[in-house]
Assembly symmetry: C2
Homo-oligomer: 204 residues x 2
């Protein structure tokens, strides 16, 4: 089984429950860690710099872009979001799996740069259920809800570019499936060719 | 998650513990079933027709070949072994996963015919350990042991053509990995494109 940490990309439309799924996944798997993103958006109440995000200025962010220090970045609703590269590579070299929880625009960018990434698309059980969840947050205006739902319909079509589709109907089932995907990918032949070479050259 | 049963092919050199791994896998997963092979070799003590194998005559077997009723077949050490196709398709349509435990020659044939199969190669932890296991059976002559070990070295190179490599160092770990592979494959995008289409066309 491959000892190098994997890069796992969990994405999907807004409101599918990526955050909740991730929390449970981390609680059950000590060998997976978050990649903390950088953003120029303002912290929400309770958010801490370096935990939810690295909160940076627009100038700082644009500097990271030009220095090629980001695995991906995107401008969403007027704010920058991006994934710092150096930390991810450090963790993977130590055998730790790194999970990016990012929007679909960001995930498409990562696909171009990280061919060995494991791309998991989280789907809502239905559009009706997705609408209910977005409304349930109670933090968005009717206009934003409509905008997000329209965006979700477009985004769902992007699922075809991912390696795996997980429907978040029941959170425990979704987490069980993602845990299985992570373990299975460690056994992928493409990540383990060295095992064959090692046994073949063994002296007996 | 795909509701069609998958075809899982577990293969590897003689002596890697395919049979033991399968027994434990079946004990823990009620939704997986064996594909019972047909063979022209004589039953060993305790083997039952229709359970370990369908024991058939050479004429009967050659008839199945010409009637195209086998997913794969091979002649190993002078005996025919093959996989009847009709039963597999029936089970998969019912949502049951079907596992073929076959030798590497048979698996290569299945690769050509079943592109949607999940090919898992079971490796011994080392050649030294494999030799110990083959000797440990106590049923083989020195000549047969040497022949099998030489064959195993050639066969291990075939592992590169499989989707997954599982090292059978610890049986529980190997079974856990295979269980994860089977669940993960049910979430593969290529097996679930209909989910995307269904959500996209939903009326809200």
């Amino acid at each position: 089984m491959s000892s190098k940490g994997n890069l796992i990309i969990l994405s999907g439309p807004s409101g599918t429950g990526k955050g909740t799924v991730c929390k449970k996944l981390f609680a059950q798997n000590s060998n997976i860690t978050y990649s903390v993103s950088a953003t120029t958006r303002l912290p929400r109440p309770g958010e801490e710099n370096g935990r939810e995000y690295y909160f940076v200025s627009k100038d700082e962010f644009e500097n990271m872009i030009t220095q090629n220090q980001l695995l991906e970045w995107a401008n969403v609703y007027g704010n920058y979001y991006g994934t710092p590269l150096n930390k991810i590579n450090e963790l993977r070299a130590q055998g730790i799996d790194v999970l990016l929880e990012i929007d679909t625009q960001g995930a498409l960018n990562v696909m171009e740069k990280a061919a060995d990434g494991i791309f998991i698309f989280l789907l809502p059980p239905s559009l009706a259920e997705l609408e209910k969840r977005i409304r349930g947050r109670g933090t968005e205006t009717a206009e934003v809800i409509k905008k997000r739902l329209d965006a979700a319909i477009d985004e769902i079509a992007l699922g075809q570019h991912y390696n795996y589709l997980v429907v978040n109907n029941n959170i425990d089932t979704a987490v069980e499936q993602i845990t299985a995907i992570i373990l299975a990918e460690k056994c992928r032949t493409s990540r383990n060719i060295d095992i064959i070479n090692k046994i073949k050259t063994e002296e007996i």
